[in-house]
Amino acid sequence: MKKASQQTSQPARHALVSVRGMRYARGDRFIFDGVDLDIRRGSVTAIMGPSGTGKTTLLKLIGGQLRPASGTVVVDGENVPELGIKALYELRKRMGMMFQSGALLTDLDVFDNVAFPIREHTGLSESLVRDLVLMKLQAVGLRGASKLMPNELSGGMARRVAMARAIALDPMLVLYDEPFTGQDPISMGVLIKLIRELNDALDLTSIVVSHDVKEAAAISDYVYLLSGGKVVDHGVPERLWESASQWSQQFLNGKPDGPVPFHYPAREYREDLLAGVRS
């Protein structure tokens, strides 16, 4: 594994997404404090870390929904925080995002959800829209569910519909926010297969934010581990398990105690018990 500090300060030429010296604060607390990372074109890259490390926030920074306090977030040669609203929306047409909740429009059925971005951004005829939507739904195995409403879908199906919608405009980059959380083994297997196969078949670049270590590592070409507002480790998944970092070993092997302590900071146990009354 490489250390974060070994990254150069210049964006890599082969990178579709390049983040340099990015800092982002919520109130007084820095969620990111000098993050550097590169997402190679055509790859599936996993961003992993414990809950609350700001993985979803990172996706929102890449998508321009949040602005960093400093640093650059370059996507396809454009520095996202500097883009005006029009340029940002043009860039987003080349991105797809699958939200953890699916974020399907609840007043539209599956077909219309997938057709939504196509109808909004293209002047295609309805017959062409229909063909495109059916092709996207076929890719995620839900062509037969096109008439169902979002409240009639299981969690796994909703994410597959969201995936079909994310690729509706044939984007260059797809962002997946916690795609495996709360899924049964079959749904998880389907999602794992789809993320990898869609990436390769459609020549996409995919960023998978997850804390499901084995599943995310299984389909990734490269992995970044985030903690404490920084990239603590990164490398190819095969070498992930050999990392010398104690933090990485604790996270990857799910150890309850280590650099991330089991106990929340508190005063001494004996002293607390003998204090008698709650202070």
């Binding site: 929306y89 987003r92 939200f99 609840t106 939504f116 951004h121 919608r165």
Partner: protein, 260 residues
Amino acid sequence: MILDPFQRLGRTSLDFFERLGRGHLFLMHTLAGIPGLLLRPRLVIAQLYSVGVLTLLIILVSGVFVGMVLGLQGYNTLVDFGAEESLGVVVALSLVRELGPVVAALLFAGRAGSALTAEIGLMKATEQLSGMEMMAVDPMKRVVAPRFLAGFLSMPLLAAIFSAVGVYGGYFVGVGLLGVDDGAFWSQMQSKVDLHEDIFNGVIKSVVFGFVAAWIAVFEGYDAVPTSEGVSRATTRTVVHTALAILGLDFVLTALMFGG
């Protein structure tokens, strides 16, 4: 310790003005999204149905009952002076000047305003608005502006319908049940109710109330804390703030229009 109440007062005041400023910026963005709707009238028509048509029933029923009560109360007062034939004027003026715009706006806030807030708030809580942003679709233009415009357009029509059915409610009680002369009821109404001073001013009121009610409803939804409790609070705020704003504005507008 001593300064705590002052600190709280200061914080509350700052929060209030910060929210007021945010609300006005939000309104500017919403209004900027309206010209684009000319190219997509279907978005507005769909909202006119859910905001306007679905509010129609409560407006019709309430309008009839308010008119009937006016007819009854008006008759009991007028008959003491032998002026029961002026009942049509009393009912019509009460409705077109005051009760039509005000009660219709209060009902609108309770039925359509709360629904708008809850819908937009839930869309925010379930990341549908974020999802639209990431699909390069501006939720202000796609979600907020059509709902605001539909609310703004619906309110004057609902107020007019409220007043119209209210007059028939008063007619039913006054003429149908209490024996007021049919011709006197309508002819006195026709001669005393002025198109400009009464009806036109009533329409202005309902337009202003519609603007404010729709603005509060969509802003509260968009500004809601994206949790179930946050949406619940936002919905309550919509009804309370709209009611207070309408009653306050009603006094101001009445003073300007009829204050002498």
